[in-house]
Amino acid sequence: MNIQCPTPAHEEEVVLLGHGAGGRLTGELLDQLVLPAVGGGTGPLEDAALLPGHPGLVMSTDSFVVSPLFFPGGDIGSLAVHGTVNDLAMRGAWPLALSVSLIVEEGLPLAELRAVMESLGKAAQDAGVPVITGDTKVVGRGAADRLFINTTGVGQRHELLAPSAASARPGDAVLLSGPIGLHGTTVLSTRENLGFEGDIASDSRPLHRLVRALAPLGDAVHVLRDPTRGGLAAALNEIARDSSAAVEIEESAVPVPEAVASACDLLGLDPLVVANEGCLVAFVDADAAEDALTAMRSLPEGAQAVRIGEVLREGQRERVTLRTLVGARRIVEMPLGEQLPRIC
């Protein structure tokens, strides 16, 4: 080694975009930095938390930073309602009330803010959940990307439902309420003008009615999760980890819309890892699987519900495997961070 060739100096690590993508990097950030600082307990990270001392009440919070603000099938306003309603629903809860907090960048046209807020209001009304408190901050140009929205929600659990990411059991059927990949490919396509915009729309929608339809099945419903950031791959891996389960899905059973498939092919993305905002996975007792599918299919948001796999009785725990189209088995890894489109 000579004088011009110093040993590489590895600088302090900094936050990367991938730390927010819902995969392994996000998990590391939470485990190593965020949770220890707030004295977060151990145990599974759920979509919403039970309110200590108030049995039956759950609470969830989420921030929405999507760009662009408007995309086919939705906008940041309706998404901010659906996201939090769905997080509550995944703990078996019906939403009672929401708070809405806005961070607005100086210079955002009022017309756009108005359109977003009207959409947010309508989404809350359609979901039947009142917005009862909120906050508005304006920051200087460049300090935020146009508009960020935080929503917090409180919900009441359906009497018999107590789903948790830690409750999957051997023999469970894995159900999916609708096709995957629509939200992520729509937003990417709209942001980057990829030309798929005409063919795809986000699946953004509330899922609490779907959960209510499952409520009569009671404790046969073990896990509910909406595969948002990190997609189906992340959701299943979290469930496999938290339940110490061996999850196996069948590639040919997972519904991927044609336009999603084409966009993913073009960009080198994996549909299993692309974000969704309007479908859920349910792990239910095998005996209750048909009833659960019938219940889901009775509602428009669950019309395309399918069974995609099962929890194996024997198999490597904490693993998600996929039976490929040609009949081989492959492991579905927890996605790392941001998916980066590939080259050719």
């Binding site: 011009q4 060739c5 590489p8 100096a9 590895h10 600088e11 900094v14 936050v15 990367l16 975009l17 991938g18 392994r24 990097l25 980057e192 990829l194 590639e251 040919s252 997972v254 519904p255 991927v256 819309p257 044609e258 498939a261 084409s262 092919d265 960009l267 080198g268 994996d270 549909p271 693993r319 490929t324 189209l325 040609v326 009949g327 081989a328 088995r329 492959r330 492991i331 579905v332 890894e333 790392l336 961070g337 980066l340 489109p341 590939r342 080259i343 050719c344």
Partner: protein, 367 residues
């Protein structure tokens, strides 16, 4: 998944596998040159379903993997300069250079942007006349035409603030270099369908004839690969060595002559060092003299670069198919997609990354 059904039909796949088992009387070794094909083979587990002993050797066809370390270090030195707006395809952002990668540079304030086509970089240059817009142009024959068009377009617009860091590579010289190696085990090739869609396959005919090696132009879907493998095995079993085309829906013998013309105008063939493999004569493209004003390497004097490879990485042996990722001591432990030591762990087309994504471990790799 229910898409592109025709090329992903499980029943047809099983039929092709049965046919392959009936046809193969020996444990043939076939190399898929292209990283996209490696990706499909490993993701679908096709390599694990082949007749006993038969082996796919994963070739050097990941453009991210073979981009020289020196080019990456240069790219990062340019990207870090004030006033530069650096553009690249997404998967180049995580490739480790000697000290860092483009993604980390971006997190520290460099203006590094992902583009989906080189023309987007030209558009950025037109929109930001006060910035120097640089595009990192890597890839095989597949991406060269679009990059050539971008240069032609920038020239037409008279853009003085657009340049490219060019590190294109060519497939046929890599194939002959592999075949010239006395340790080479490859008995047949699957040639990359996308490359041939541009270049045609006439370039492969002298290689097949000279080295007595069957070459099958093959697509990227599971059934394409199974059919390509079957066609190669049929040739091997009957002692033929021809160039055959499995990918008829996209490829003609002459390729796309318009694209070839653009490449010929803008680039010229040059010697190129492949990361992990070394210098191969006439195996790369650089900007032709008429277009050198767009050469970022000339425009930015970044001073002496000192590329140093990680000593643990055996990327060279991986890229030539001599070893498997699971043979590498760092695989899955010190080297992961989160902290890649070498390029094959970065792009989804890199062999190490493809193995890692499919959860392959040293005991579970039969490829």
């Amino acid at each position: 998944m229910k898409y592109l059904d025709e090329y992903r039909d499980p029943v047809l796949a099983r039929r092709l596998l049965d046919e392959l088992r009936r046809t193969a009387t020996r444990p043939w070794r076939i190399m898929e040159v292209c990283g996209g094909q490696t990706h499909t083979l490993v993701r679908q587990g096709i390599d694990e379903l082949l007749p006993a002993g038969m082996r796919m050797i994963h070739g050097p066809g990941c453009p991210v993997c073979v981009t020289p370390l020196e080019t990456l270090d240069r790219a990062m030195a340019v990207a870090a300069r004030p006033g530069v707006l650096f553009t690249s395809f997404g998967d180049m952002l995580r490739v480790p250079g000697t000290d860092t990668d483009l993604l980390s540079l971006r997190a520290r304030g460099a203006d590094v942007r992902v583009v989906y086509a080189p023309m987007d970089a030209v558009r950025l240059a037109a929109e930001h006349p006060d910035r120097e817009v640089v595009f990192l142009a890597v890839g095989f024959e597949t991406t060269a035409p679009a990059n050539a068009m971008a240069v032609l377009h920038a020239a037409r617009l008279g853009l003085a603030n657009f340049s490219m860091l060019v590190s294109h590579v060519l497939v046929p010289p890599a194939m002959t270099a592999l075949l010239d190696d006395p340790d080479c085990e490859v008995e047949a090739f699957l040639a990359a369908g996308h490359v041939c869609a541009v270049m045609g396959w006439h370039e492969y005919e002298p290689i097949a004839a000279r080295y007595h090696v069957p070459i099958v132009v093959t697509g990227f879907e599971p059934l394409d690969l199974l059919e390509g493998i079957l066609m190669a095995v049929r040739q091997l079993e009957s002692g033929r060595y021809e160039v055959e085309n499995q990918y008829v829906r996209a490829v003609r013998r002459a390729g796309n002559t318009v694209a070839q013309d653009a490449v010929r105008r803008v680039f010229r063939v040059t010697d190129r060092a492949w990361r992990g493999i070394g210098e191969l004569p006439d195996s790369g493209l650089e900007l032709a003299p008429d277009y050198q004003e767009f050469d970022a390497a000339r425009r930015f004097d970044v001073g002496g670069l000192c590329p140093v490879e990680d000593p643990e990485c055996i990327a060279g042996s991986i890229l030539t198919g001599a070893r498997l990722p699971t043979d590498c001591a760092a695989y899955g432990t010190r080297c992961t997609p989160r902290h890649p030591l070498g390029a094959p762990m970065v792009s989804s087309e890199g062999t190490c990354a493809a193995f890692h994504a499919a959860g392959r471990t040293p005991t579970r790799s039969t490829a």
